[in-house]
Amino acid sequence: MIYSSELIKGTLKTIVLKLLADNKKMYGYEITQRVKELTLDKIQITEGALYPTLHALEADGLVTTQAEYIGKRVRKYYTLSPTGKSKAKEKVSELADFMDTMRFLLDIKPTTA
């Protein structure tokens, strides 16, 4: 099952921040691949959603960038800034709390294997 884009849209910032918190520096393509890998293809981040988010995070000062030349093209690496680090923690715990609330609200029983 691939999740709908509406579900992913609200959590994309958190996903990107958390990935950057766990990996020192990443570039766009790497982020999409890592998410695909970790979620066994269930979450596929689209380019149309990822790059606007990365630019917004940069404008907010949550990430810093570093350009690296690969032949004729430039690769932009993203790293969390100090404020980005605390924001990542804040966003993850907010989402965890939200998930607990949703579990309670929608009365979802934990699935036992």
């Binding site: 393509y29 606007p52 350009a67 430039v74 932009k76």
Partner: protein, 378 residues
């Protein structure tokens, strides 16, 4: 793994640019992203162009440019909530300032100008632009955006016209007439012809347009295009009195011995009268005197109340009480016969202190000129 040549990279970058991506950063990001996909997924002898076009298609729904639009939206509206909050705060501040300012103005208490000015500025320069920025993002059609832009601009102009009127700044008529003209000749036609084409908004557009024409028409009838003959005659009378006073001042010379108490008192009263007149004229015409070529500049003293400008920083009230004291001292002098005393009955000097704001400005000016004439004759 496929290896991309320099010309292929240039080909991709050119295509991304041609698709309408203008931000340099975004171009580079997308270029690297496509290159990575091609390098990882295309076989060594695969068809580069076909694979590229099928890959780039997965980046968007309708066109590649939507990524840039989304990026710009996020960058512009990253402060969406802050903007909304600022809009509500500035709206509340301006509403409160308008209410307090209006109340002070009605009561002729000091501070009205400060509050009204604050209201006008926050409303026109913070509140209206914020509404525009927040609303323009929600609107899809170009026509509505044009109507909203002109409407916002007019709102700001309208506020400035009122501010200019209240502060008696030069150019107040010009800005007010431009506001009315733009409303009537630009805004209403644009609003009417864009709204009437849509069946859903047709009736509302017609009703709203009629209301707008009526409101602007009423405001236009209230606008004096040129001062009335009566106002002009009163201004001439004041200017003629002033000329007479000047002539009397120069021809009388110094009758009183220099350094005497009376000479000092007379010059004090003259000075205070002059300062008071300058203050009243400044509030009324924006200048401290009526220049000789006043007709050329369409300067007239339109009769009205002294108003808040007189109370501002307490200058008017202080000058007036100084004048009262000086004249009382002058009149109480033993040498003064009854007919040599300066008459103060039914002048601004006798007005109750809480009613001075309501005093007629032209009367006050003429009374002060007469006091100055009395001084010279007695």
């Amino acid at each position: 793994m496929y290896t991309l040549s320099d010309s292929q990279i240039k080909f991709i970058l050119d295509d991304i640019r041609a698709s309408g991506i203008e931000m340099d950063d975004l171009q580079q990001n997308l270029l690297d992203h496509v290159c990575c996909i091609i390098e990882h997924e295309l076989e060594e002898n695969g068809d580069f162009e076909r694979f590229y076009f099928s890959t780039i298609k997965t980046f968007y729904k309708k066109e590649l440019k939507e990524i840039e639009t989304e990026t710009q939206n996020l960058l512009t509206f990253k402060n969406y909530y802050a903007m909304k909050k600022a809009m509500i705060t500035s709206g509340t501040i301006s509403a409160a300032a308008f209410i307090i300012g209006s109340f002070l103005k009605i009561m002729h208490w000091p501070g009205a100008i400060v509050f009204l000015g604050l209201g006008f500025i926050t409303f026109s320069l913070i509140f209206l632009p914020l509404i525009f920025l927040l609303k323009v993002g929600e609107i899809n059609t170009k026509r509505d955006k044009v109507v909203l832009s002109i409407g916002t601009l007019l709102g700001i102009l309208y506020c400035f016209s009122m501010l200019f009127q209240v502060m008696h700044w030069p150019g107040k008529h010009m800005i007010w007439l431009s506001t009315l003209a733009i409303s009537f000749f630009v805004f209403i036609p644009v609003y009417f012809f864009t709204g009437i084409r849509n069946a859903e908004t047709k009736v509302n557009t017609i009703v709203a347009s009629i209301l707008l024409v009526a409101v602007i028409g009423i405001q236009f009838t209230l606008t004096a295009l040129r001062p009335s003959a009566e106002t002009q005659n009163k201004t001439y009378a004041y200017v003629q009195n002033e000329q007479l006073l000047k002539k009397m001042q120069t021809s009388s010379g110094d009758r009183l011995p220099v350094g005497s108490l009376e000479q000092k008192l007379v010059s004090d009263i003259q000075k205070t009268c002059q300062q008071l007149k300058e203050l009243i004229l400044k509030n009324e015409t924006g200048q401290t005197f009526i220049p000789d070529d006043f007709e050329l500049h369409h300067i007239t003293i339109s009769e009205g109340i002294l108003g808040d400008g007189f109370y501002k920083d307490g200058t008017g009230i202080k000058l007036l009480s100084d004048l009262k004291a000086e004249i009382a001292l002058y009149n109480s002098s033993k040498l003064k016969t009854e007919e040599n005393k300066i008459p103060v009955a039914h002048t601004i000097l006798e007005a109750a202190s809480d009613r001075i704001g309501l005093y007629n400005n032209l009367s006050a000016l003429n009374e002060l000129t007469r006091i100055q004439m009395h001084l010279i004759c007695s």
